[in-house]
Symmetry: C2
Subunit: 312 residues, 2 copies
Amino acid sequence: MTKIAIAGSGAMGSRFGYMLQAAGNSVVLLDNWAAHVQAINTNGLTVNIAGQAPLQVQIPAALPTDIKEIQDVIILFTKSMQLTNMLQTIQPLIGPKTKVVCLLNGLGHPETIERYLPKTNIFVGITLWTAGLTGPGEITLSGSGSVELQNVAPDSQNAAKALVELLSAAGLKAHYSTDVLFSIWRKACVNGTLNSLCALLDCNIAQLGQTSQATTLLTAIVDEFSAVAATEGVDLQPAEMLAHIMPLFNPEEAGDHYPSMHQDLIQHHRPTEIDYLNGYVARKGTERGIATPVNQLITELVHTKEALLIEK
Amino acid sequence: MTKIAIAGSGAMGSRFGYMLQAAGNSVVLLDNWAAHVQAINTNGLTVNIAGQAPLQVQIPAALPTDIKEIQDVIILFTKSMQLTNMLQTIQPLIGPKTKVVCLLNGLGHPETIERYLPKTNIFVGITLWTAGLTGPGEITLSGSGSVELQNVAPDSQNAAKALVELLSAAGLKAHYSTDVLFSIWRKACVNGTLNSLCALLDCNIAQLGQTSQATTLLTAIVDEFSAVAATEGVDLQPAEMLAHIMPLFNPEEAGDHYPSMHQDLIQHHRPTEIDYLNGYVARKGTERGIATPVNQLITELVHTKEALLIEK
């Protein structure tokens, strides 16, 4: 029985924890939102799946500070800006054999994680699963998804494949990637265009796509992502990237969806992940002598909007 | 008796027209808003001055297409994007001796006007007067102001000074400027920072000033204004410009004011003057080989916001 801690059990973390426990693993959901942890421990995790009666799933939950037992696997699912704090808090859970899997959106996370454990035990990836947190202790699931995963250290390939097995056995449709950094950059570039612009301009994806400026804006952002990606050995072709993003403007695709950064900033007045998307590109571009004025300005404007909307 | 047409009789045009007629000139207010023209011709121009009973001022008003008589002086007071259309419409009013005065906000207007009459008859300036259009045929006046004016053609200095006299005799506190292009750029730079950012970020000036990003944003915009101004022989020092703008964040100054671009875009869902502020800097910068990515992006973002908010 694999002992798995979900470090950051919002919507996505709870989904993964629920599915991994259902597959027979020993799972604990860790989260800093006390009311959420308490609701799960009192009533179970409420899982709403379209067309089914809500499930009440008994699954242990805890504040990250309240668990000290070494885990086999830890899956990181915090918001980007909470990652460092979470890693500091869960030090007691990380033993010499503990595998840590990072499925966060955004750029630069492996660098952060490497400060807390050896590369051989770090695995990074992306997921296309979705989930909604409906209230404390309650998630709503719909649609299907997948996971792409790779080892950070070259000699940890077998361990990565074992993790892929673990996730797939729980129905999470994981597969081993030979170029996960490309996938991470590609997803970050989607988020760094659609999420950032929809948040800044207060619109949904279809509305953005209907403006005559959309292509110009996307091109300016993507060109800089591509230039900085190249400095990390990632071949993010602007034309291919645009061809990948443009269809998402179709209202029958994700079009009428307000991206998560819009939800965070405009709807809930919460800090955004901008520093791990456009902000990362601007920061690394500056460090490496690549002009990134567009991503720099978008990052500043989103931070200004945070300053205006988030109550002190 | 000097025959004066106000070409564009919104709040500011009506103020100037009212004051010039009161000083004994023969004034006609031209405007494309039919209800406004009709209200003035039916009830007079209603002039609200703080602490006084409203005045009903009999003053002729007309659609620009309805007047054909050559004028001594035409004062342009349209929105920037209506200037070309107005100049085309009022061709019959412009004789060989007609002096045309441009007091519009924004950059690049002399270039436009030169396509319609000889330089010797063109005079440009700025004004610090304010006025509000409260409804059709109704303006509200408060505070004091001034006008700075200069000839475009070197040999028209005396004509400019005569116009200064004309305005000052009507209480408009005009003075002759020896470097009006500097003043125009300086005012455009204030508008291109405060107006554009407050419109884009949906905040007032004091709120913008309270964010920790304000200085960074202003500096990025002002640096490019300065570089492009230099190509026109205008010495707009970034440090001096910032020192001029920063005090405006003080809530006791203009701080709690929503600038006109915010009113246009966010409150009334109307097109903005961005192409004559940041957009001019981006366009001329590109033509002249000066990098202006910040003003380019701000222009694109404001146009995107227009596309999102203005009903087709």
